[in-house]
Symmetry: C2
Subunit: 200 residues, 2 copies
């Protein structure tokens, strides 16, 4: 039996500090046939980040030209920097039946959902508690106090967005959260509505 | 963080011989917080079957009285016997937040889906190939040749019903199929639309 289907965009959002990036990385190690969608950003790389793997680091001018030409599926200004995902890379993955994992903020998630309503699965990651979130935000030592404060206010706004997502994951025990994300991907691959062609 | 939700009815259907019953049993061993929904039937028990565990074995009169009083959520005549699920046990599970696994035929599945549209997740199990299905149907040695033939005709009708289900599983390698069923259950438990109450 052979089943053909399009690629799926798994969009994962969370308030900053919910541990989303680690969760996504760990789930990707476990999953077959899914790639990390590399966002474009104008922010400078952190020491451990690699060009083309974590982000594509571009100049603001380059980024804004892409926006002007309508090439971005989603983009947003977060603090002082721009983040975005080009349409062509999503279109290509969907067409070729490759699944993508997109680690983006809630604004971006809703733009992707609106542009690709049948091909997007939106997943919201909750921190185990608001107190845990505050702790995690405070511990990230590369940020200044004012950045932490901005991050915290933004986190509260972002948590309020969860009803627009398809799935939620509570990132309390990381290993459980990873399993849940893996399961959401596997389950969505088995939705009847995604079958394009079925051959016996 | 505390999330309250209603119970979910996981309805699993398949053409006879697709290995659905073994698949369900194995998935139940792996899952927490889900029970097997015991159907009522008028057919005599097979040697290995236990009353109240595999089925509730009842007289045809008892069964038809329940149907007449509108107490059955789904019921069907399959070959010469009646099979059904009482509404009260489903209502109770949903209300109490307990998940149920229902191993029923496609007629029953569509009745459940119609009666509990927001609380039902319908899963269709495919045999790996039509040839594999034919082999499995022929090997079950408790059936007579005419029973096998009826079963085979019915299997073809049942396979055509898959588009009315939410998920599909191809039961080729049993272990993979079990994992997929487990993942569908876990994923559906994490759907945002099922959240009734969320407390930080």
């Amino acid at each position: 039996m052979k089943i053909k289907r399009k690629g799926i965009l798994f969009v994962v959002s969370a308030p900053s500090g919910a541990g989303k990036t680690t969760l996504c990385r760990r789930a990707l190690e476990r999953l077959q046939g899914i790639e990390f969608s590399v966002s474009y950003t104008t922010r400078p790389p952190r020491p451990e980040e690699r060009e083309g793997v974590d982000y594509r680091f571009v100049k603001e001018e380059t980024f804004l030209n892409m926006v002007e030409r309508g090439e971005m599926a989603e983009w947003a200004r977060v603090y002082d920097h721009l983040y975005g995902t080009p349409i062509f890379s999503l279109d290509k993955a969907i067409e070729e039946g490759r699944d993508l994992l997109l680690d983006i903020d809630t604004q971006g998630a809703s733009q992707i959902k609106a542009k690709f309503p049948n091909d997007t699965v939106a997943i919201y990651v909750f921190p185990p508690s608001l107190r845990a979130l505050k702790e995690r935000l405070t511990l990230r030592d590369t940020d200044t106090p004012s950045e932490i404060k901005k991050r915290w206010e933004r986190a509260e706004e972002e948590v309020a967005m969860y009803p627009f997502f398809h799935y939620f994951i509570v990132n309390d025990v990381l290993e459980d959260a990873v399993k849940e994300l893996v399961c959401i991907v596997e389950a969505e691959r088995h939705r009847v509505s995604r079958i394009q062609e079925l051959k016996w």
